[in-house]
């Protein structure tokens, strides 16, 4: 039993905007004051003068799984200077852009985040993702199951077997213990495996009777039909390429009302291309998103400094390797997807990096509906998640932002529209783009708000001289009703939940699935699905 | 006052501040080093027409050079830093880099530097190699003969130009002999150089002319042929005047050079040792002749 009293509460989902209120917690949930039988016995935290909001919900972050670990393993130089010692409560660990599992959990919690979604899980390697997520303490997490280049699915689409495709997707979500359908460069990774470098929305997928457009629309429809809480999480074609904004806009138009989340939109909002230099097309992309209410987006903001890029978009990492000359790890996953890792330095004086920073900011400020706009860095691609406080500072403080802008190369400043944008985010809007909105987009009814019945995931901050200092370390974090962070330090650890969906599927697909596995997979069908042992703290989120 | 019967006029040389660099050119032997040196400062007599003034300071033994070969040390002076940034790469590039067997090093320790090798390296067309040793950067520029080695940056410092002596002789022979004696005496002084051919200038100049386009013209007051036509500065019996112009890293060095030069020039057949000035209007450094022995 816990009472957080007299805090200024920001709970946009329930229309609370900075009013002083008391929050009561019992058995891991938020309860009404009059439901607390024995208030005298409760632990009381006096939040007078402090800011109270729901725990953060990150909709897109790479925190666990084979390519995250490949990034850790390939880059010892990333960890050398960033270390945290064990102290009896916490485990040791570290890493700047790819922290160890424990450090990932602690750092998120210290910033007041309590739920994080791992953005790309190859089904064949799902056990790995879950093993790591079980070593990420405290956080609730889910993982998005990669499907955009799955050959069984491509076969179904090619044969116009929509029902079979739907059952397969449902089966795969369950088999991998996934949370949502993830689409990465649909058809493009499969094409890359066949030797084709770049794939646009209507290019054929070599060897299959399907196009990226068809894959996206089918998976969007399947998400809706299955009633998935979060519907397809899309990393569009031609990500990271100059001139890709046209692909992004055509993709949004193609969706035609289908509920879809666009991942790390910044990397998909580039103008220029061909003989023309890279420039911002944030305004055009933002206009398309603003006009299509079926679409949500996270930004994938770039922050300056060294980081490690990683994605299931194998061809993209190969291109980055060719451009940067940095070391390159690739991992094509049979029948399903690809994956690559390349370390990168987003240097402030580099025109491209600077422009990427500007484009992200421009998107933040041009997307009109905070309920459909979410804060991410596509950790660690744009930069580590530990930079969120600094990004919040940029969004809330126009002066700070323009100082940043003026320190960038002239070419970057002149090829974007950021200088003309005066908007400043309110604190309530920040709560929406980091918590309330992400929880809603994820279909997590018990998260992202402080109403009665919500999970008691609560973050309390002390107002500071600047916003980034305030958000760097929470004064108090409550996770599932337990106080786990005090004064920015983890003081208690417990496992978090693994969020899964069980949409249900028709067993009629099993014979052809079994046959497919026997022909193409090196793991037997009976050994493929993730066993219960890997999700000891499973929380099933109901489909609609 | 008089030295050896020669009058030392009570006048002063009017010197002025410039920026100086010191180049050390080495080569397979002294002859090639001299050749490169002459190519580099051969056309650096007067700031008026050459963009810089320069001269050989002295020859260097193999124990005195960075690469253990015989060499030559040069001084080069310009009015401004910017001029130095133009002149040094130009002259080293054309005078030294082209000359067989040579290498070129900075000879002046200074916090102020200009880029020389750093500019010339581009001649290497991407094949140039940088070497950093003991805080000094060198460039190895591939050339048909092998490699041209040149230091990246050369120190520059404020220095003095315009030290001078006028030797007023009874005959051309006497004046020339006195001038030669002065030159060889001055060449033993450190930190100075004589920019004019053979160390001697016969065409001393005054500021301005009757032609608008010309900033300097012949020093008519000392031209024996014009004695009746102008306000001549020449005493009776003087039929020839030669000038020794001295540049130096310090005023002290110039003073030493003027003193030993004047002493050497005080020979039979010389009437007077004078010095050139512009009435104190141009230079900040006024060196009284008689003070040299004070």
């Amino acid at each position: 039993m816990l009472g957080i009293l007299n805090g200024r509460v920001y709970d946009p989902a329930n229309g609370v905007d900075g009013q002083v209120q008391d929050i009561w917690v019992q058995d891991g949930r938020i309860v009404a004051a009059d439901q607390v039988p024995n208030r005298e016995a409760a632990e009381i935290f006096d939040a007078a003068g402090l800011v109270v909001m729901p725990g953060g919900v990150d909709i897109h972050s790479h925190i666990a799984g084979s390519k995250v670990n490949a990034g850790r393993r390939m880059c010892p130089e990333d960890h050398r200077a960033d270390t945290g010692a064990q102290n009896g409560v916490t485990r040791s660990g570290g890493g700047h852009s790819v922290p160890t599992t424990f450090a990932t959990g602690y750092h998120y919690l210290e910033m007041g985040y309590t739920t994080v979604m791992e953005a790309a899980m190859p089904p064949l390697l799902a056990r790995h993702t879950h093993e790591e997520m079980n070593d990420v303490p405290l956080l609730d997490k889910g993982a998005y199951t990669l499907m955009g280049n799955n050959r069984f699915l491509l076969g179904c689409l090619g044969h116009r077997q929509k029902a079979k495709a739907r059952d397969f997707a449902a089966w795969l979500l369950e088999a991998s213990r996934g949370y949502a359908i993830k689409i990465v460069n649909p058809g493009g990774v499969e094409n890359w495996k066949a030797g084709k470098r770049e794939t646009d929305l209507d290019d054929p997928v070599l060897g299959w009777d399907a196009t990226p457009r068809e894959i996206i629309l089918a998976l969007a429809d399947i998400s809706t039909e299955l009633g998935l809480p979060h519907g397809p999480h899309l990393h569009v074609n031609r990500l990271g390429q100059a001139g890709n904004a046209s692909t992004t806009i055509r993709t949004i138009e193609a969706l035609d009302g289908r509920r879809t989340h666009l991942a790390h939109l910044q990397f998909a909002s580039y103008g220029g291309g061909g003989r023309h230099p890279l420039r911002s097309a944030a305004a055009e992309v933002a206009a398309a998103v603003n006009a299509n209410h079926n679409v949500t987006a996270d930004i994938g903001q770039v922050v300056f400094g060294p980081t490690t890029t990683m994605t299931a978009d194998g061809p993209l990492e190969h291109t980055l390797h060719q451009l940067s000359g940095s070391k390159w790890l690739n991992n094509d996953v049979e029948e399903e997807t690809g994956g690559g890792v390349v370390p990168m330095n987003h240097a402030r004086r580099n025109t491209v990096s600077a422009l990427q920073w500007c484009i992200g900011m421009e998107l933040f400020l041009s997307l009109e509906d905070p309920w459909r706009t979410f804060l991410t860095t596509d950790h660690p691609n744009g930069g580590p998640f530990t930079a969120y406080p600094e990004i919040i500072h940029c969004l809330m403080d126009r002066e700070f932002r323009s100082q940043m802008l003026s320190s960038l190369p002239d070419k970057a400043q002149s090829r974007c529209g950021l200088a003309g944008l005066q908007r400043e985010y309110s604190l309530q809007e920040i709560v929406i783009i980091t918590r309330a909105g992400t929880a809603r987009a994820l279909g997590l009814a018990n998260k992202g708000h402080l109403g009665v019945g919500a999970d008691a995931d609560i973050a309390v901050y002390a107002p500071q001289l600047n916003w980034s200092m305030m958000f760097r370390r929470a004064r108090l974090v409550v996770k599932g009703g337990r106080v786990v962070v005090r004064d920015g330090q983890v003081v208690a650890v417990c496992p978090g939940h693994t969020l899964c969906v069980t949409p249900g599927w028709d067993e009629g697909i099993l014979p052809s699935l079994r046959e497919h596995f026997e022909q193409h997979y090196t793991v037997g069908f009976d050994n493929y699905a993730v066993q219960d042992d890997y999700v000891p703290y499973c929380e099933v989120i109901r489909c609609k | 006052m008089q030295i050896g019967g020669v009058e030392i006029e009570d006048t002063y040389a009017e010197a002025f501040h410039m920026w100086a660099a010191r180049l050390v050119i080495t080569a397979v032997n002294g002859q090639w080093a001299q050749t490169a040196a002459h190519a580099t400062i051969g056309f650096a007599t007067s700031i008026i027409g050459c963009g810089c003034e320069g001269g050989i300071e002295r020859e260097l033994a193999s124990t005195e050079t960075p690469d253990g070969r015989t060499g030559v040390s040069l001084l080069l002076m310009t009015r401004s830093r910017e001029d130095m940034e133009k002149q040094l790469p130009l002259r080293v590039g054309q005078g030294v880099m082209t000359c067989a067997t040579t290498a070129c090093f900075n000879g002046l320790d200074s916090t102020e530097t200009v880029s020389v090798g750093g500019n010339l390296r581009f001649f290497g067309d991407g094949f140039q190699i940088s070497k950093l040793l003991d805080g000094r950067r060198f460039w190895r520029i591939p050339v048909m003969e092998g490699e041209f080695l040149v230091e990246d940056r050369f120190g520059i410092q404020r220095a003095v130009a315009g030290g001078n002596l006028l030797i007023l002789g009874q005959t051309p022979e006497a004046a020339l002999a006195a001038a030669e004696a002065a030159v060889s005496a001055i060449r033993k002084v450190n930190d100075v150089a004589l920019p004019f051919p053979g160390g001697v200038a016969r065409s001393g100049s005054k500021v301005g002319s009757r032609y608008k386009f010309l900033r300097a013209s012949t020093n008519d007051a000392y031209c024996p042929t014009l004695r009746p036509l102008v306000k001549s500065a020449l005493p009776e019996g003087v039929n020839c005047v030669l000038e020794i112009v001295i540049i130096g890293l310090t005023e002290m060095a110039i003073r030493s050079a003027m003193r030993v030069g004047a002493e050497a020039a005080c020979r039979p057949g010389i009437v007077r040792i004078s010095a050139g000035n512009y009435g104190g209007r141009l230079g900040k450094v006024l060196i009284g002749l008689q003070e040299l022995w004070a």
Binding site: P76, R80, S92, G95, N330, N527 | -
Partner: protein
Amino acid sequence: MTRTVEHVVCPTCGCLCDDLVVEVDGTRVTQARRACPNGRTFFKSYDPTPRLPRVHGREVEWNEAIAEAARMLTQARSPLIYGLSSTATEAQRCAVELADRLGAILDTTSSLCHGPAVLAMQSVGLPGCTLGEIRSNADLVIFWGCNPAVSHPRHFARYSLPPANRRSRVAVVVDVRPTATSDIADLFLQVEPGSDLEILTALRALVHARPLSARAIGGVPLANWEDLAGRMKSCRMGVVFAGVGLTMSQGRDLNLGELFSLVAELNDCTRFAAMPMRGHGNVAGADQVLTWQSGYPFAVNYGRGFPRYGPGEFSAVDVLAHGEADAALIIASDPLAHLPSSSAVHLREIPVVAIDPRESLTTRIAQVVLPTACYGLDAAGTYYRMDGVPIRLRPVISSARPTDEQALQQLLDSVVRVSAGAVPTC
């Protein structure tokens, strides 16, 4: 009474074949169908009879052995934890936590065999894929310094040279002597020992049509290398399996780095992958666990309270050779049999705790021996295949012994209790 268990995973080597059909009579495996000779021996030789732990050669109760092991480890100033290649990730996770809480040095057998491949990957990256990509798509398969016919007998059939598309692919072997693998190859290039780096650099040059003046490299005429480079560039998908012939020969990680660079560059014109041919069943899992918990795959020192990486310094071989450990916990490995004698000798001079299902040279000299169940036989757990695919092992017989994980968890609890009063202070 005989039972039959299907879809059984064989944990013997990095192949992790998961299609075995195992017959069990009581507590003994009588048949391991589809298993290779190595796998058959593994399954059939196992005796799951419960055994008591030993302390200084004396059989004792489990708790007493744990207490003694905890005492030995906590009293050490520089304890080493080593092994982990033949145990499940569940146990590996406990072992890493134990190292973390103790401030120990932690190393896996990886540092001895494929550690150089990790160093190479940290230097230049590694273009790879899962084995199924190779099975379905490769048309050029190169075995370099490895002999899977003996070390990974089912590798050909299941992954690299499946009979169904054997005709459509070319198998090349590069090795210093003929082997059972070179016998089945389409092309065998027998090279001089220690010439791998020269050959690989030459191949990189040839792939880019850069001129070479040497007429022969590694004892093989340049024309043969030109031919191989041509095949590499023109194949649809190629793969190189790198064996200990590359990692253990002169050059080690630089050999592998050259190979990975070559393969990376080949991806500019076609599709190519490289894969270290990892031996022990779960050495890949040990890499993974240690990496996600510490950031580093092997040779980690927790002495400062946080992990530090030191291949060549914190690798067991070096720690022992320099006498820099004063106690050792050996898990599922037999360093006395496998480490060079210069390192092994130190193990005889310090207190050793061994956790292993089987007796070995190391358990014979250990002061404390904790006999555990065997993953894949009488314990369930996770193993990672050589390509990083995690598979859950199915136990085929019921266990009467604790698992490595349980033993380590007890040891961990005991160590935390013992050292609670004496936390190292700065």
